[in-house]
């Protein structure tokens, strides 16, 4: 555990007199660094402000979980839990299909794991399913948390999420947009859901990983290993 300073700040709080320390969620005026957001300021070499809330703004390369909300001539319009809808062009579907058949493959209400392919300056967001890890979701559950908690759910170098997959015996796909897909037995999914909600609620506290491990252990009780579903 490093003992960096962290504290709650509101927009306009002065964070530093050295402009070179300005990181994410800050701005510089007259050589001073100010907070741009309400959130937790982490004082390392750079000072970053992690917001406590806010909308997901897509960035190229992000994995996201979306719901088809409309179909046009050659695009599926995908709700990605953002002010900006994603466009999934017919050519980004993993195999060649005819425009007339689009709704046979993905219809309104279908869920997809997609990747943000490109975002232009007017926030036109293009998605793709062209990767074997991407595609439609038909089973399991989707839960929604604030996208600002996603880094905590993934953990440093993916530590939290790999622990969760192992201990919860579920397949978990984390969308950067705060939507998470879990798949496993009903019992395991129930626990996974509660565990992820716990992480969301306590995202900003110290010693979270230990508490989560402890929580899963207690909840599982005598249940050993993974539940084998019939």
């Amino acid at each position: 555990m490093d003992h960096m300073e962290r504290r709650v700040v509101v927009p306009g709080d002065v964070l530093s007199e050295e402009s070179k320390r300005a990181g994410e969620g800050t701005y510089v005026k007259d050589e001073k660094v100010y907070a741009l957001l309400y959130g937790i300021a982490n004082f390392r070499e750079k000072i970053n402000v992690i917001p406590l809330a806010g909308k997901y703004i897509p960035v190229a390369g992000d994995n996201v979980l979306g719901t088809i909300k409309d179909i046009t001539f050659s695009n599926w319009i995908v709700d990605i839990n953002s002010p900006y809808d994603g466009l999934l062009h017919i050519s980004e579907y993993p195999r060649k299909i005819e425009a007339d058949d689009m709704s046979k493959y993905l219809r309104i209400g279908s869920s997809v794991m997609a990747r943000v392919k490109e975002v232009d300056s007017t926030m036109k967001v293009e998605l793709t399913l062209n990767d074997r890890r991407l595609g439609q979701i038909k089973t399991g559950r989707v839960i929604e948390i604030s996208h600002t908690r996603v880094p905590r759910l993934i953990g440093k170098g993916g530590s939290m999420i790999s622990m969760l997959k192992k201990e919860l015996c579920c397949n978990i796909f984390v969308g950067q947009n705060g939507r998470i897909w879990i798949n496993g037995s009903e019992e395991d999914m129930d626990l996974a859901l509660k565990t992820i909600q716990l992480i969301e609620k306590e995202a900003h506290t110290n010693g979270l990983t230990d508490r989560v491990v402890e929580y899963i252990k207690t909840e599982k009780g005598g249940r050993q290993g993974c539940h084998i579903s019939g």
């Binding site: 869920s111 979701i137 989707v142």
Partner: protein, 258 residues
């Protein structure tokens, strides 16, 4: 923004329902927690802030002398209005009340009126000329489902704490608004053959039919409204009516404690 519910979410809720469960762990006939704060707006003659789960509704009652209706010259007048302000839900838009707001206000009004909750005969000032007008204004603050029941509770709670402002208008001493009954509205939604009371936002979005039943203290029914494009069987309706009237008793007792 979340105008489309994903099929996965629907399937999840549907499967839960088949197992006899709801996402928040309630029984099908169990309402969310209710809290009622009265006297919250000093400028109103009566007021209440109702929370039903996370749903929040504020109701203010204002009174002023005015002309009676031609067909009831010696009785007071009730005017009910509901504002579904865009602060309360991403689905609400600014502008004059739409059909949902008007339906809500009219159903609440029907409960108050038909139950005889307000003693309108006691609100006559000069027969044929001047009577008290009771304005019930419903302000939705946070729509997390079932604003109908929350509004109806808010209306009667606000009325119960209303003081007739006689002094302000030179009409003698102030006195408490005479209340004779406590109508309670209970709304159920139906989907896939299952009936659930006090639906939250997701459940409301899944269902295409609602039934509101308003009952009096003596267990009789004073108002019913079916809403939505779906259908209900007679048996379903009878069952909703029975549960609504029974459950209303417990809620009514809560009022009498206040």
């Amino acid at each position: 923004m979340s105008s489309v519910i994903s099929e996965i979410r629907k399937d999840y809720l549907y499967n839960l329902m088949l197992r006899g469960q709801r996402a928040d762990g309630r029984a099908f006939d169990q309402p969310r927690e209710i809290s009622i704060k009265t006297g919250v707006i000093r400028k109103a003659e009566g007021s209440a802030l109702v929370t039903l789960g996370d749903t929040q509704v504020m109701v203010g009652v204002k009174m002023q002398p005015g002309e009676p209706f031609p067909d009831s010259l010696d009785r007071g007048v009730i005017v009910t209005n509901a504002e579904l302000v865009p602060l309360a839900s991403p689905m609400f838009e600014p502008g004059p009340p739409n059909e949902f707001g008007i339906e809500l206000a009219r159903v609440v009004d029907r409960g108050v009126r038909e139950s005889g909750a307000v003693d309108l005969a006691g609100l006559c000032i000069t027969p044929g000329e001047k009577v008290w007008i009771v304005f019930i204004d419903i302000h939705i603050l946070d729509d997390c489902g079932n604003i109908m029941d929350a509004s109806s509770l808010g209306a009667i709670a606000a009325l119960l704490t209303t003081t007739v402002p006689a002094k302000k208008f030179g009409l003698g001493e102030d006195y408490p608004l005479p209340i004779k009954d406590i109508p309670i509205a209970m709304t159920a939604v139906e989907f896939g053959g299952v009936v659930m009371f006090d639906a939250d936002v997701d459940e409301e979005a899944m269902a295409d039919t609602k039934l509101t039943v308003i009952s009096r203290a003596d267990g009789t029914i004073c108002g019913v409204q079916k809403s939505g494009t779906g259908v209900l069987s007679q048996e379903q309706i009878y069952r909703i009516v029975d549960i609504a009237c029974e459950n209303a008793k417990g809620i009514r007792e809560k009022f009498l404690e206040v």
